[in-house]
């Protein structure tokens, strides 16, 4: 016969009708010899019957009409109210900070795009611009040695959203057009600020160092 502990662990699946034939038989066999467990299960079953028997509320007859009217009103306002009621952006001060960051990013972007054609990008000064989202990425994306030899901005890229110091080499426009956006696409970075995502409190994922198999002077890299 199964233990009381084992029997109790089968109560939930028993109620949900998820027990195998063997489990059900062993539970019934246990109940036959253990009245406290039998009573416990009966009480659980009666509890859940009461819960499931709770009366359903009556909903107003015009509920659907009201929903539609409210949805249309909100839609006419451009979904206003929806954004500010969500998570991180619900706080007016945070919303203001986010807006300020977006404006700062835009202004610094304009400054970069207004640079005369043919002039090499001056990253050293630009990285201190008041646009943290864009500026902090620049040194990572562009090693200084590359920047020093950077040529004129390609016409194909000059119409895109301004970004800081992407390494530009003397390549024809069509070559750039064929290159997909890299991980350092600053346009995407700005979108992260604009996108009304819900920020949640969550445990951070720790840094996991890349495992390499290096022995002596040999290294194997697999793609």
């Amino acid at each position: 016969m199964i233990s009381c502990e084992r029997a109790q662990s089968l109560f939930g699946p028993g109620w949900d009708d998820e027990l195998s034939v063997a489990e059900r038989e062993s539970l019934e066999q246990h109940f036959a010899g253990c009245l406290p467990c039998r009573r416990d299960y009966d009480e659980l079953a009666r509890t859940l019957e009461l819960v499931q028997g709770l009366p359903r509320p009556q909903v107003s007859g015009d509920f659907a009409t009201r929903v539609l009217a409210e949805a249309r009103r909100r839609e006419a306002e451009g979904g206003r109210g929806l954004l500010i009621t969500r998570g991180w952006f619900a706080h007016p001060a945070r919303l203001a900070i986010a807006a300020a960051l977006v404006v700062a990013a835009g202004v610094s972007g304009l400054l970069v795009s207004s640079r005369p054609q043919g002039e090499a990008p001056r990253v050293a000064q630009q990285v201190t611009a008041p646009a943290p989202v864009v500026a902090t990425q620049a040194p990572v994306a562009t090693p200084p040695s590359t920047l020093a030899s950077a040529g004129p901005v390609s016409p194909a890229r000059s119409n895109a959203t301004p970004t800081l110091a992407r390494p530009e080499r003397n390549r024809p426009a069509e070559v750039y057009g064929a290159i997909p956006d890299s991980l350092f696409d600053h346009t995407a970075d700005v979108e992260l600020v604009l996108d009304p995502v819900t920020l949640r409190k969550e445990r951070g994922r720790g840094y996991t160092p890349v495992q390499t198999t290096v022995k002596g002077e040999q290294a194997s890299i697999t793609f």
Binding site: E43, L44, V51, L54, P57, S60, R66, V67, A71, G79
Partner: protein, 210 residues
């Protein structure tokens, strides 16, 4: 028969015969009738869910309204292939959770102690008056007691229990709605059931209930 906007060239089937997902596909194309039918199908369940989570019938209809408004505003974001009810209950559970947090912050929510006290009083009242036991306990009164017992459960257990034992969602759907693993769903529901049983024991041990 007019063409189906979600399936060009095909005749429109009667709206009542459409699945929730088909209705949602049409609602995404601004078919008002399809959206209204979805509201009609789920309005009672959503109001019930919210009212059980908050133990507050008065505001539950307002929150349920907000749930459907969100569905309408985000109708084009609905992922075809996913189950509509899971998406709907995810929105409902999130809005109810927000409301629970808001109430806790503003301290308008009846404290758990207060509720437990009410529950205890009611329990004593029935347990002690065996001689005055009524053959037919008023269902409304019993519902109130059960509702309050549910309301005293910790939020995370209450939500899981209500989704499972009141709304009848599958464990998998609850996991998707609450964004928690299947094992966690099961353990929360199990614990919630046992806690609730303990709270209702004074009634359960009476002969005439059940």
């Amino acid at each position: 028969m007019a063409p189906d906007p979600s399936r060009p060239g095909e005749p429109v089937p009667p709206i009542l015969s459409l699945s929730d997902e088909d209705l949602m596909a049409r609602a995404a194309l601004d078919d008002t009738k399809a959206f209204t039918e979805l509201v009609r199908r789920y309005q009672t369940r959503v109001v019930h869910l919210v009212s059980r989570l908050l133990n507050d019938r008065e505001v539950s209809e307002d929150i349920a309204q907000e749930v459907f408004v969100r569905v309408h505003l985000h109708r084009r974001n609905y992922r075809t292939g996913s189950k509509f009810s899971t998406w709907l209950f995810t929105i409902a559970a999130n809005l109810a959770k927000n409301e629970m947090r808001r109430r806790k912050r503003r301290r308008n929510w009846s404290s758990l102690d207060e509720m437990q006290e009410t529950l205890k009083d009611a329990s004593l009242q029935f347990a002690d008056k065996k001689s005055n036991r009524q053959e037919d306990l008023e269902r409304e009164q019993l519902s109130g007691v059960v509702g309050e017992a549910i309301a005293t459960l910790p939020d995370r257990y209450r939500i899981a229990l209500v989704l499972r034992d009141i709304e009848g969602l599958a464990y998998e759907e609850i996991g998707l709605a609450l964004k928690i693993p299947g094992g966690t769903v099961r353990s929360r529901i199990n614990r919630a059931r046992l806690m609730l049983k303990r709270k209702l024991e004074p009634w359960l041990r009476r002969d005439d209930i059940g």
